[in-house]
């Protein structure tokens, strides 16, 4: 689930516009080929500043090889109230999990 402040954005628009600085979400790829992971957020006035701030805040200890920054307002998030209708129905559908296959002998990490 995304951090709470993103979820709040929708209902808290007034507060967001009063705060002049834009919030950007930071995604960092730790190694080539791996997926970018959400690390946190930064304040910045423009794209370049967002990228540099993200670099300064989140990659000081050699955490990454690539950074994405996305304006928080561009992220669409489900809200806690959606949780039951979104996710509960998959609970009782065991056939969606590949648990009915026999494991080949010697296969590991499955």
């Amino acid at each position: 689930m995304l951090p709470k402040h993103i979820q709040k954005n929708k209902n808290n628009k007034d507060k967001m516009t009063k705060d002049k600085s834009t919030v950007w979400e930071v995604f960092i790829q730790s190694k080539n080929g791996l997926a970018h992971k959400h690390f946190g957020n930064v304040h910045a006035e423009d794209k370049e500043m967002a990228l540099q701030n993200a670099r300064d805040l989140y990659t000081r200890r050699n955490e990454g090889s690539c950074i994405w920054v996305v304006k928080s307002e561009h992220i669409v998030s489900s809200v806690p109230e959606d949780e039951t209708s979104f996710f509960d129905p998959s609970n009782d559908k065991v056939y969606r999990h590949p648990t009915f296959y026999k494991m080949p002998e010697g296969a590991k990490h499955i």
Partner: protein
């Protein structure tokens, strides 16, 4: 050996003093993000200074790197005078930083070709750091210069105030000439053309007027400084001087 020691100290002191100045921003930055950015740059500069002072200590043979940083007096420091100038407001700091970063970038590019292996290695490592610093300060200068009327007016004034300290970047004295002739040091005069190109281009983009070259400050190569360095050193060196047995 005394020549190489002094030459190394000049480079080391320039990084050390600028790093110390920048570190004064720590906890006072305009935003949390920028506070960390400035501290990061300051730490990079301390890292460069540390490498160079360790080397200077080896050449010297009797003083440690800490001795060199904390137990020399004002007149024994050879940093460029621009580095000791006060931070002022954020725009002042960014202008100073941009002018220095551009110089560092070009200086280290040349120093990386030095036949002195240690200096060349330190230069090579520093280029990566400095090119990021330049990107940071350049972007801020453009943002402030091409920003609001007020920010533009402020940085225009910043650059006019500090311009007289840029002449020192390109000075050559006997020691510089000797080091350059021995393929150890850099020909500072040669850096000027490239420096002008970068600075003019960024100032144009930032919509800031380049100040006219008039009187230029000088003296740091002989250990002469503005009155600001003494106060800085008093603070920087206080602890090791008051408690000589203190350990890190």
């Amino acid at each position: 050996m005394q020549d190489l020691l002094k030459y190394t100290l000049r480079i080391a002191d320039t990084s050390l003093i600028l790093g110390q100045r920048l570190s004064e921003w720590c906890s006072k930055g305009p935003t949390l993000e920028e506070d960390i950015a400035l501290s990061n740059i300051s730490l990079d500069l301390f890292g460069q200074a540390n490498g160079l002072l360790e080397y200077a200590s080896k050449i010297d043979g009797s003083r440690t790197a800490d001795d060199l940083a904390f137990k020399r007096n004002e007149r024994e420091f050879y940093n460029l005078q621009i580095c000791e100038q006060e931070n002022g407001h954020f725009g002042d700091t960014m202008v100073r930083q941009f002018l220095c970063d551009t110089y560092f970038m070009l200086f280290y590019q040349e120093l990386s070709k030095s036949e002195d292996e240690t200096l060349a290695a330190i230069a090579n490592k520093s280029i990566k750091e400095v090119s990021y610093h330049l990107r940071h300060s350049k972007n801020w200068l453009i943002r402030l210069g091409d920003g609001t009327d007020k920010s533009k007016e402020k940085v225009q004034k910043s650059i006019e105030n500090i311009w007289k300290f840029t002449g020192e970047f390109f000075e050559m004295d006997d020691l510089d000439n000797l080091m350059y002739a021995n393929k150890i040091g850099v020909n500072n005069i040669k850096l000027k053309d490239e420096w002008d190109i970068i600075v003019n281009q960024v100032l144009l983009e930032a919509k800031i007027n380049r100040p006219k070259d008039s009187y230029m400050m000088t003296g740091s190569k002989k250990g002469l400084h503005t009155e600001l360095l003494g106060k800085m050193l008093a603070e920087m060196q206080y602890l090791p001087r008051a408690y000589p047995d203190a350990k890190w």
